[in-house]
């Protein structure tokens, strides 16, 4: 995981995200904000999924899928490196 890059992302409580290296901006939903904050704190995919199940009413399977989806989208947006897991 490219932690430095993720840590530099400016994420507001409203879900507005600014990438200071590229100038690109994004709007994230509540669960994506949760996941990105967890990534910024250095958590791994499994840990994030566990946190999601305790924070939101989702099953472990659903949480895993959500984190995978979010990572995929973050990768596509160039916000995390291609090898991030």
């Amino acid at each position: 995981m490219e932690l430095n890059k993720i840590k530099n992302l400016a994420l507001s409580e409203t879900g507005f995200l600014f990438d200071p290296a590229t100038g690109n901006t994004f709007t994230l939903n509540e669960s994506a904000v949760f996941i990105l904050k967890a990534l910024k704190n250095g958590m791994q995919q499994r840990e994030i999924a566990d946190s999601l199940t305790s924070e939101f009413e989702v099953t472990a399977t659903q949480a895993n899928e959500d984190v995978s989806d979010a990572l995929l989208q973050l990768r596509e947006a160039g916000l995390v490196s291609a090898g991030a897991k």
Partner: protein, 387 residues
């Protein structure tokens, strides 16, 4: 104590605005207390009438009339204004100012200008040919002087390719027919060579900077958020991209650059490789964004020209956004008359510290009587002569 008088050029503020107004706005907010004079080429340049930014404006001959006419006009203006520094903001002026720099110094006027060789080296095709790739990469670039050379270049570069004028304008060509069309348009407007360049799909990022003898004194990177149909930034945001800033430092050192500049980069989508598209030898029109982000490069430029000690500044606020807008200035006919008939306009002292928030105040005062002005008559300046 007499105020330092700073003269700024490029007061046109059309859809592709010159940098002069942004430079003046930065100087105005620097707190250095300079007196600002404008030099313009046309009666309808909006900056002539912005009394909150300039104490007076003078018309000068177009750059293509050569250095002698420019020197003669500035010497005339200097009798009244006692100019300390001139800050040119247009590409097309630089050759003339470089040629008369020694004479201007003799008149007590200081400039911070690139060396003639540095200016020649930053020229679009020359830069691509001469700069080592370990300093900066540039897209494949070919000089074109006739249509047959264009066909050869197209074979080498493939389509789509960019066809660029040697000074301004660039068009994307997706077929040989389109490329030929753009070649003729650009050759007739800007002369030959026309430049053919490999078109890289990616995100554009620009850097505004200031240097003296190859040392970087300030640099701010900006990502364009919204473009006009001419590809000019109408909105942008400050960003921090260490690779681009390091490339900027290396390039400026290589060129031994003096003065303001703008670098246009593109980050290729496919590879994330960074290419330098071109270098402009003056501050960009968005230079006020850099000032707002914390590095007032026009003010540093003037201080460097005056020979003062200036500390380089590299930290600035990231995420600062600018959105350009156009507004209609209401100008009394008497003000246009003064500029048209005497070649100059003098303004009352600005009553507002911020001309952009209270433009109604500080209108131009009554112009000089006809024939008795401090400026000289400039034949092409008459708006009444246009029929």
């Amino acid at each position: 104590m007499t105020k330092t008088t700073v003269c700024v050029t490029g007061l046109n503020a059309a859809d592709s605005p010159a940098p002069g107004l942004a430079v003046l706005r930065s100087l105005h907010e620097s707190g250095l207390g300079y007196r600002h004079i404008g030099i313009s080429y046309g009666v309808l340049d909006a900056g002539n009438y912005m009394s909150g930014l300039v104490s007076a404006c003078y018309l000068t001959p177009y750059p293509n009339t050569g250095p002698d006419a420019l020197l003669s006009r500035i010497a005339e203006i200097n009798k009244t204004e006692k100019i300390d520094v001139i800050l040119p903001t247009l590409d097309s002026e630089l050759d003339n100012y470089i040629k008369i720099e020694a004479e201007l110094r003799y008149l007590g006027i200081k400039l911070l200008l690139p060396l003639k060789d540095s200016l020649a080296l930053r020229d679009k095709p020359t830069l691509a040919e001469k700069i080592p790739t370990d300093i900066i990469k540039t897209p494949d670039t070919v000089r074109i002087s006739d249509v047959s050379a264009l066909r050869d270049a197209a074979d080498k570069l493939g389509f789509p390719l960019l066809v660029k004028g040697q000074y301004y304008e660039a068009y994307a060509a997706y077929s040989p027919e389109e490329a030929v069309g753009w070649f003729y348009k650009l050759a007739s407007q800007w002369g030959v060579p026309v430049i053919a360049q490999n078109m890289i799909a990616g995100e554009e990022m620009n850097v505004a900077g200031l240097a003296k003898r190859g040392k970087l004194y300030g640099a701010v990177a900006m990502k364009k958020l919204f473009l006009t149909d001419k590809g000019k930034a109408w909105s942008g945001v400050t960003i921090r991209n260490e690779k681009i800033l390091e490339m900027t430092r290396r390039l400026i050192q290589f060129l031994n650059w003096d003065g303001g500049f703008e670098l246009e980069f593109i980050v290729e989508n496919k590879t994330q490789e960074i290419y330098l598209i071109e270098m402009n030898p003056r501050f960009p029109a968005w230079i006020y964004l850099a000032t707002a982000a914390g590095i007032n490069m026009p003010a540093m430029h003037v201080r460097l020209a005056l020979g003062e000690h200036v500390e380089p500044k590299t930290e600035y606020e990231v995420g600062k956004v600018f959105i350009r807008h156009a507004r209609d200035e209401i100008v009394p006919m008497a003000a246009m008359e003064s500029l048209s008939t005497t070649g100059m306009i003098a303004h009352a002292a600005p009553s507002s510290p911020n001309p952009f928030s209270q433009r109604e105040k500080g209108r131009p005062k009554t112009p000089l009587p006809l024939g008795e002005g401090q400026g000289v008559r400039v034949a092409r300046a008459s708006v009444f002569a246009q029929g």
